[in-house]
Symmetry: C2
Subunit: 238 residues, 2 copies
Amino acid sequence: MNQSQVNGDLSQPAHGQRRPSVLLFDVNETLSDMAPLAGRFSDVGAVPQLARTWFAGLLRDGFALTVNGVNPDFATLAREQLRQALAGTTLEMELDAAVEHIMGGFAELQCHPDVVDGVRALSEMGLRLVTLTNGATSVAQRLLGDASIADRFDRMLSVQQAEAWKPDARAYRYALEECGVEPAEAMLVAAHPWDTDGARRAGLTAAWINRESRTYPSYFLAPDLEARSLTHLASLLR
Amino acid sequence: MNQSQVNGDLSQPAHGQRRPSVLLFDVNETLSDMAPLAGRFSDVGAVPQLARTWFAGLLRDGFALTVNGVNPDFATLAREQLRQALAGTTLEMELDAAVEHIMGGFAELQCHPDVVDGVRALSEMGLRLVTLTNGATSVAQRLLGDASIADRFDRMLSVQQAEAWKPDARAYRYALEECGVEPAEAMLVAAHPWDTDGARRAGLTAAWINRESRTYPSYFLAPDLEARSLTHLASLLR
């Protein structure tokens, strides 16, 4: 709970916070729209809702390993957890083919509609933009390259080079070291409350991107900012 | 990875392991059949598959907090995560009523069909039986009381009295201390691979209860035993 520390360093107050110099963006769901993956589940004969079950189970198992100091490979967990999620479903194809079809959907995901304008606006405000994902940097490179905004990002980082997955503090510290900034100078931008919570515990500020008008869970530390989109975030930070 | 340590203390080999003196049972899904909760989701107008999404999301968020040294209240997370899971669904009742209806299902869960005979058999083999849950002990007391097998259990423990949730090693160590046994004398019995993995990392042996013929994820440490049911486990340990 480093809130007092964060707030103790106000020199340029904006919404009660110093404006950050670096924005660290989560990638999956925060920048990419994962909704099309549900269609891939339908394609193979599974209920589309299973996409969310799969992704939650993947993070559950990754975090279980993180608790015990293991830093697993995201794609390996994604693929195996997919087999777990599909077990019990009568598929319209072989399991291997179904897994490949769904995993192939990752490579075709696009940014949410607000991301291109939002990233350009935040970049033009002079903020340094960096990605920090539990997955591979190649996913962010492909996603942002396809959207022609890769050049707006200073760095694309993965916890594969850190000691642990987010929300372990070591993941955020790795990004801070790579960027050469103090925690209070960096703001984590994420659609997942577990990520904003982890960032705040590591001394960063955090912005929660809430595109679906959800309620933030009370058991996590509240974000410093809540925005409906990246364009909304830009207006809040301006 | 304490496998060598566990195997280094063989005095009564059974399947390559010393037979444990204490069995630590996980409760939700391992002893209780959670399938009826899916029907509760249907009752409120949600897809039944959402039950699994909800439970995976609840553990995901609980483990995220565990990563950062927080020991949250299971029921609080369950209730709030249910609101998250139901967001986006057009319900047939008010959200509050839907949440209460589904949470009420917990109090009516029954043991899997193999549990009563399995517990009696394991108890009659002279093994000390103990429950260790991330939830409240009252859930185990009600569940096992209804099945008339509560008297077979030596202790019913919750991580609420420990420093952290399973799969943090401190959760298992708490149970070992309460039982007065060394890690190698205790076997964790669970339906969840993240739990058997955590127990093995804490130096216990572990039995995976695999009622649905699933494949054990390769990214977790393999269990020492795999059983189709508690009666099967009893036959393996006999």
